[in-house]
Amino acid sequence: MARLPSSKNKHHLTGIDWILHGFDFMTKRATGAGNMFQIVMELEGLPAENEVRDWLDVCTRKFPLLGGRTRRDFNLAPYWQMPSRPPQVSFDVHRLQAGDETLPLLERGVNTPFRSEREHLALQLIHAGESSHAAVKFDHRLFDAHGAEMFLSMLQRDWEEGGRCNWEPPPCEPAHLSEWRDKFEAGKQVNRTFLRLAESGPPRALPLGPRSISQGFAFRKITFTEQQSQEIIERAESEAGYLMAMPYTMALTIQALHAIFVNRGIMTGNYVIPVTMDTRVPGSRPHAVFFNHVSLLLFRIHDREVGDFHALLKSIKQQMYEQARMGLARDLLEASLLIRIAPLPMVSYLVKLYLKRDIASFCFSFLGDTGHMPTRFMGREVSRSYHMARVPVPPGLGVFFHQTHGRLSVHLSYLRGVLAEGEVETITQALHSGLGG
C-alpha cells in the first residue's frame, strides 16, 4: 500500500519566515538579488586560504539546512526541504593592492545573488596588508541577524575544535495548522493596526529612482570607539530613560532623514517605520539559530512631531508601550501564519495593498549587544564587526544600529538611485552630530 506523505519530520516555515520569503521575492524582482545581509569581521592577521577552504567544506556539511529550499507540503504549508547532496557555499578571496578600498568589494559581495536556490551562505575573504576582512553573506530566508551571529559562533567553535564538533539538527517546526480561532483573532488586531497606519494615505516615501541605474545597494558606515559608544548610551539613558537606546536612536534617525524629505518637497503622508524586534530572549532555545525569530513593531510619525526632539521621543516611546500592551508583536506572529497559503507574488501584493503602495518610509533596527558574536574567527582576533543589510524594496532604505562587544556602529543602506551622494553625506553628518561623535 502506498504510504501517505508525512509532515512530522519537516521543518515548516512560520508566518514570519513566509513574510521574509515575500520580501525576498519583492527584492529579487526589483533588483535581481534577494533579501540578503552580510556580517563583516575585521580580523587581525590573515587566515590561511587553503585551511579555510578545507574547513568550510567539512563544516558546512554538518548543516544540511544550508542546502535546503522551500517547498509546499501536501497540506499546503510551506516547509524547508532538506537537500540530497551537500550544501554549496561560495568562498572567494581578494587581495587589496595599495590604494584599493574595501567597501566596493564588500558592496559587490552583498549585492551578488546566490548561485542557486539551494545556496544560502557565502564567505568572502579580503586580504588588506597585515589585516583582513571576513564577510559572511546570509540569506534572510534562513537566518535573521542574531541567528547569523550565533551561527558564526558555532563555526568558530568548530574551527577551535579542529572540525570535530557535531551539531544537533534543530527540532522540526510543526505546521501550525490548528487553533485557527486564535489566528483569526490575532489577524483582526493586526488588520486594525494596518488600517490605522494607512488611514491618512500611503506612507511618506522616497521614489526608487530610474530602473536604468544599477540596482545594487550602497552603504555608509559610522563607527564609534568603546568610549564613544558608552557616552552615546549614557546620553540616550539620560534623555530617553533607562534601556531606551532604541527609541533615542530612532528619533535621531527620523530627524536626519526628515531633512531629505523636506528638501525634496515630499511633504505628504506620515512616516511609517517598521522595526524588527528579536523574539528570542536570553536563556531561550539555543537551537534558534536558523530561520527568523523576529516580529515587528510599526511606528507612525506625523510631520508635526519631527521638529521637537523630545516630543518625537515621547511619541515613539508611547507607541512602543501601546504596542507592547496590545501584544502586537505576538499577534503578528500568530496572524502571519494565515498568510502562508498565499503564493509569494500575492504576499508581496498584499503587503503593498495594506499601505496603499509603499510599505514603509524606511526600515530601522537597533541590535543590542547579545554576546553572540565571536571574538575570534578562523583563528584570528576580531577587531570590529558590523552588519550590512540589503533592505526590502520598497522602501530600499534603512538605518541599522548595531552594538557588539561594547562598540556601536551605524549603517545607512540604500538602493542606488534612492539617495543622491550629497544626501548620503547630509544624513551621515546629521547622525554623527546627533549621536555626539
Binding site: 533607562y242 537606546a245 536570553p282 536563556g283
Partner: protein
C-alpha cells in the same frame, strides 16, 4: 491595587523579569542591573506593562531615573513609594 510589602513587590518583579527573559529564576537577583541580564528596550517596556497592570502605575510617563529603574530592588522600592 494589591497592598504589598517591598519584599513582595521584589518577589513579583523577579518572577516577571525571569518570565519575560525566559531565564532561570535563580539567575535573576534583586541587585543585578537589568541590562546585564540581557534586557533590551522592548523587554523592559513589557515589564512596564506588567507594572501598570498590577500596580496601576504608568512608569513610562514618569521622570524616573536610571537609578530608580535599573535593578529589581530599586524598581520595587520606587513602586512601593508611589503606591
Amino acid at each position: 491595587m494589591p497592598e504589598m510589602s517591598v519584599e513582595e513587590i521584589e518577589e513579583l518583579l523577579l518572577a516577571e523579569v525571569a518570565n519575560i527573559l525566559l531565564a532561570d529564576p535563580d539567575t535573576v537577583t534583586v541587585d543585578a542591573p537589568l541590562h546585564s541580564l540581557g534586557m533590551n528596550s522592548m523587554a523592559f517596556v513589557e515589564l512596564l506593562v506588567v507594572i501598570e497592570r498590577v500596580f496601576r502605575l504608568k512608569l513610562m510617563e514618569t521622570d524616573l531615573t536610571k537609578e530608580d529603574f535599573q535593578t529589581v530592588r530599586s524598581l520595587a522600592s520606587c513602586i512601593s513609594r508611589m503606591t
